[in-house]
């Protein structure tokens, strides 16, 4: 069963490529997680938080007016955008924060790109009375200023990272450096299905509730499984979350849409599986964007949350065994889909999630009106109003000043 993969390897991907200083912490986390997974107390605590704090189960919404632009296929959105804090990220954060508390850690650190994971982590830290430091590339603190303010309001310290490309990958480097130095009292709350084992497996497991709920909901609504499930892929947490429940349904096609930036054939993209090759980055072997010397190449995407030159090892494996397909979506395709969903359905998606919508429009044209497509709407677009406002020239000239 494809759903039974437990790591540390997925085929030839995954592993633990980290300084020795971190191995003890990873072992401790692995042991704690393995215990918690089958501990009814832990599961009950998490379920309680899902129900009374996050707002789970999240609903599904069929979007017929949008679907007219997707070949007339039935398009159904899994509404992770309606979760508390505005995206799927909270699922993983609450799970890991509970684990951190069990381990007696009093300080949470996190990296963030778009800021959604940072906001979710700051939220959990506030809820559990822990201190919180969020590393965020300086470029991202500028384009996601609202989320920076949000994190600070929640009591977190936001550290703008000024090294390297000053984006998500450098924020992860600094978070790892912090963790090496403070591992005794600190949990590194990694926000995606990348990094060293056990993170890829653990983060996937905390998100797989997305697919489990959606599979049941789509069956209830349509009487059958969807023909395809789609999601955007940066590190790949929301995609793994919705894919996982369908991995062993061979008739359900899985599509991950990567950020192609200005085009996957240009040099300004974040299409890691489409254009990268296997290597080691941030503690795991997976696909990554790199030059011939193995130096990481800076990625580009209009969406901060997808602007990452790596991808989770389980996605690399699903790609190589042919179980999931990974396709590029440009900045402009995503932005057009963002506006289209806003205008046809009154739902403003995150730019990240808009990549999945743009991919779904193309897929719907291929599959035709008989098809049912389930889309993970992983986040809401409130945080992206600056970017969207500038992109579509929505600000009045005066107000822009």
């Amino acid at each position: 069963m494809l759903r039974d993969e437990l790591g540390p390897y997925f085929g030839e991907f995954g592993g633990r490529f980290v300084p020795e200083s971190l191995i003890a912490a990873l072992d401790e986390l692995d042991t704690a997680y393995t215990t918690a997974k089958t501990d009814p107390m832990f599961q009950a605590e998490l379920a309680q938080l899902h129900a009374t704090y996050t707002g789970r189960p999240s609903i599904i919404t069929e979007v017929p007016r949008f679907a007219e632009h997707a070949g007339g296929a039935r398009v159904i959105l899994k509404r992770e955008d309606l979760n508390h804090t505005g995206s799927h990220k909270i699922n993983n954060v609450l799970g890991q924060a509970l684990l951190a508390r069990r381990l007696g850690k009093t300080r949470l650190i996190a990296e963030t790109g778009a800021g959604q994971h940072g906001v979710a982590t700051a939220t959990a830290a506030a809820l559990f009375g822990m201190s919180c430091v969020v590393y965020m590339g300086e470029v991202d603190t500028e384009r996601q200023a609202l989320n920076v303010a949000r994190m600070r309001l929640l009591g977190a310290e936001v550290v703008p990272v000024k090294t390297g490309s000053r984006t998500l990958k450098d924020a992860i480097n600094d978070a790892l450096r912090d963790w090496v130095a403070n591992v005794a009292d600190t949990h590194y709350l990694l926000g995606t299905v990348a990094g060293p084992h056990p993170f890829p497996v653990m983060v996937r497991d905390f998100h797989k509730i997305i697919g489990e709920e959606a599979r049941r909901q789509v069956l209830d609504l349509t009487g059958r499984l969807p023909d395809a499930v789609t999601a955007c892929v940066g590190g790949g947490s929301n995609a793994m979350g919705i894919f996982h429940a369908f991995l062993d349904d061979p008739d359900v096609a899985l599509y991950g849409y990567e950020a192609a930036g200005e085009g996957h054939l240009t040099e300004k993209h974040a299409a890691t599986i489409t254009r990268g090759r296997p290597g080691v980055l941030h503690g795991a072997r997976s696909y990554m964007l790199q030059d011939e010397d193995g130096q990481t190449i800076e990625s580009h995407s209009i969406s901060a949350g997808l602007d990452y030159p790596g991808v989770g090892p389980e996605h690399a494996w699903l790609n190589d065994i042919g179980r999931a397909s990974y396709l590029p979506i440009t900045d402009d395709e995503a932005m057009q889909a963002l506006r289209l969903l806003s205008r046809t359905e009154g739902i403003i998606p995150a730019i990240e999630s808009a990549h999945a919508l743009a991919g779904t429009m193309k897929l719907g044209m291929e599959l035709g009106p008989e098809a049912v497509i389930l889309v993970n709407l992983s986040g809401r677009g409130d945080k992206d109003m600056e970017t969207a406002g500038a992109y579509f020239e929505l600000f009045d000239a005066e107000a822009a000043k």
């Binding site: 592993g15 020795e20 003890a24 090496v180 130095a181 591992v183 011939e292 130096q295």
Partner: protein, 266 residues
């Protein structure tokens, strides 16, 4: 015994221990980095740790990050690393260990990297983000070529993991003095002394302490219980601030800490 082990053993026999000096290739430029490495040896450094600049150096603090980032921005290529090893070993006898994050080796090809390093006159590799558990390819390539392989040991490592680091390492075991990244510290942790004692119990006869050491006095203190002291950021700072002359002075000051003041500790 490997060349590195021979050097360390000789320094111990003389009542002290080895001084290992780190500098990155290509900073501030390729030729100056070669000259600076030569100057280290001419001023009392016993073993050179030559760093290959890498885009995502998670084990390095701000001083080394700045230097390696500048080298990359200036056009550092992996081939320059082999050029530098060859140029330095043509001028001085000290063994040269290349310190590199794992992905560049993986992309170059582990066997090809080992062959080219050996051909250039290198002594082996220090791999900060490769634990022995993940190192099957490198264990085989280093056995085939006889290159040294230095794995890390940390204060947080279990006894079983320390034994693994000792068993798999050749040349020396890199004892990480403190839970943290590279960079000067006023006090080299008590943790280092405890770690080296645990490494002895695990069977190590060649343990060098690194991270945080920046003065001759600290070198002397560390050599009181360890087989070598590794200095990086302090040398890189000197090179950045005052060029080859400054790094030569810094090396000489650190080497003062290797002058035997009493009988051999073992």
């Amino acid at each position: 015994m490997s060349r590195v082990e021979t050097v360390i053993a000789a320094r111990k026999a003389a009542g002290s221990g080895a001084l290992v000096g780190y500098l990155p290739v290509g900073f501030p430029d390729l030729q100056t980095s070669i000259d600076a490495a030569v100057a280290l040896v001419e001023n009392g450094v016993d073993i050179i740790e030559l760093g290959l600049p890498y885009s995502d150096p998670v084990m390095d603090g701000p001083v080394i990050q700045r230097a390696t980032q500048a080298a990359l921005a200036d056009g550092f290529k992996l081939g320059h690393g082999f050029d530098a090893v060859a140029a330095i070993s043509a001028r001085v006898d000290a063994p040269i260990l290349v310190m590199t994050y794992w992905n560049p080796v993986l992309q170059y090809g582990v066997d090809r990297f080992a062959d080219d390093l050996l051909a250039a006159g290198g002594a082996g590799l220090i791999t900060p983000d490769l634990v022995a558990d993940e190192a099957a390819g490198w264990l085989a390539a280093s056995d085939r070529t006889g290159l040294d392989r230095v794995f890390l040991a940390a204060p947080s490592s279990t006894d079983a993991r320390l034994r693994q680091s000792v068993e798999k390492s050749r040349g020396f075991v890199y004892a990480v003095s403190t839970m943290g990244i590279t960079g000067a510290r006023a006090d080299v942790d008590q943790a280092a002394r405890a770690l080296v004692a645990r490494l002895r119990t695990a069977g190590s006869t060649s343990a060098c302490v690194g991270v945080g050491i920046s003065t001759g006095d600290q070198v002397r203190e560390v050599l009181g219980y360890a087989d070598g002291a590794i200095v990086g950021s302090a040398l890189v700072s000197a090179l950045a601030d005052g060029g080859v002359q400054a790094v030569a002075r810094a090396a000489a000051a650190l080497a003062a800490g290797t002058v035997a003041t009493g009988p051999a500790s073992e």
